[in-house]
Symmetry: C2
DNA sequence: ACCTGAACACCGTTCAAGT
DNA sequence: ACCTGAACACCGTTCAAGT
């Protein structure tokens, strides 16, 4: 007879990950998770103190799945970029998870693997040990912010997205050329935040890594021989 | 006699901004806004089709307040930085607003003023006209992502923040040195995402602007005379 | 010892019925 | 023409009562 069995924490996490992956549009809730497991939401509160704690645990699984099959390749920038793109892909279409992760990075094996790889890449880059924690911190913030905000965009309904697009068009095309000359001039080419996110992600991250490389060269004197770059450039 | 008056859209927006500003911890809701106005939530749906539409309108007011009193000063990088810091400050402690704004930039006068200033600064930087829309797009994404994710951190309860801190400590300090050598090595210095956000914001933005400057120099040949920088550095 | 039902205190949104 | 009450379909979380 179907009902009444005990669910392990593992099984609950699996079911939560599954539910988050399949239910694209509508939002995740403890009650829906309980329903999917054929139990009552109150039962889940024996395994988790709060919804946030549950989501944090699932976020680490996503991270784990993201690094699964990853092997370092290329130079340190390529390694960080490849890893970041994997994490980004893993969190896409799972807005609530990305938001939680962005708020406060998870803490399990997945998180450790990502941290380890980025730290090693920074060492390979030749960044002095004493600067690595700060560099890591900035990279983590940048990547988490971009992924979380991207997930936020895909979290709203298509209608709201279309409304937002329309508002943007009105703001840009309807700008008074007297008061907003530059905006009026670029009106046809300026784009809303929601488009072209993948390219933007890669470019912004690349720019940040190049900046680190330049600084490292400035400090250690071991930059590419052709371009000394001793002013911040 | 107190009850039963008509509220203009303006008054509702003012009250919403006020409520968002004062109610630090607990979350904003249409019902609470209605209660603050002494009316029923259903009345508000004559003025706004949805909560999102309402929040978008308030977000533009915040933007307007952010640029109030702003005057361009210094070089183009300083102008963009000063403006970004103002916007950041305006959205702090208003997580729900920042999230909505991050999802889809607002559309009123506030938004226009910010766009105008950034576009003018990019022109002043000497970025070729045909590149400005793309550069603007990346800058806007970067700033919005950082601000929204920062607001996300301050949105969670202190208890959840402390839990997250504890989880982070466990993840870092408890890492097996065999499996995570770099993480174990930097364990004492690596910091969680939530700390030092202001410095991180300034540094990440500065790095991005420096990158634009370097590229502009590479393309136009009008960089600082001492450092040609024709490779991406 | 474990789980459940029912409740508490909320949400956003709609719409018939009132004034 | 405008507004309201009441309802719909949800939330996260708790806890006494059951098995």
């Amino acid at each position: 007879m179907a009902g009444r069995r005990r669910w392990s924490t593992e099984e609950i996490l699996d079911a939560a990950a599954e539910l988050l992956r399949t239910s694209d549009t509508d939002s995740f809730s403890v009650r829906k998770l309980a329903a999917a497991l054929g139990t009552d939401s109150s039962s889940l509160y024996r395994h988790f103190r709060s919804k946030t704690e549950l989501l944090r645990a699932v976020a680490d699984r996503i991270l784990l799945a993201a690094v699964d099959g990853y092997h370092p390749e290329g130079d340190w920038k390529q390694r960080i970029t490849a890893l970041a793109l994997r994490v980004r892909e893993a969190f896409r279409q799972q807005p609530q998870l990305a938001a939680v992760w962005g708020r406060y990075a998870s803490s399990g094996t997945g998180s450790r693997l990502v941290m380890e790889e980025v730290l090693q890449a920074l060492r390979a880059a030749g960044v002095p040990d004493e600067e690595i924690p700060a560099r890591y911190h900035r990279i983590a913030i940048l990547i988490a912010a971009l992924i979380a905000s991207e997930a936020g965009v895909s979290a709203i309904t298509p209608e709201e997205q279309e409304q937002g697009m329309e508002l943007f068009r009105v703001a840009v095309l309807g700008a008074d050329p007297e008061r907003f000359p530059a905006l009026a001039h670029f009106a046809r080419d300026v784009r809303p935040l929601g488009v072209d996110r993948r390219a933007a992600f890669e470019e912004i991250l690349a720019a940040h890594l190049v900046h680190i490389e330049a600084h490292r060269a400035g400090f250690s004197g071991a930059g590419t021989p052709s371009t000394p770059c001793d002013t911040p450039c």
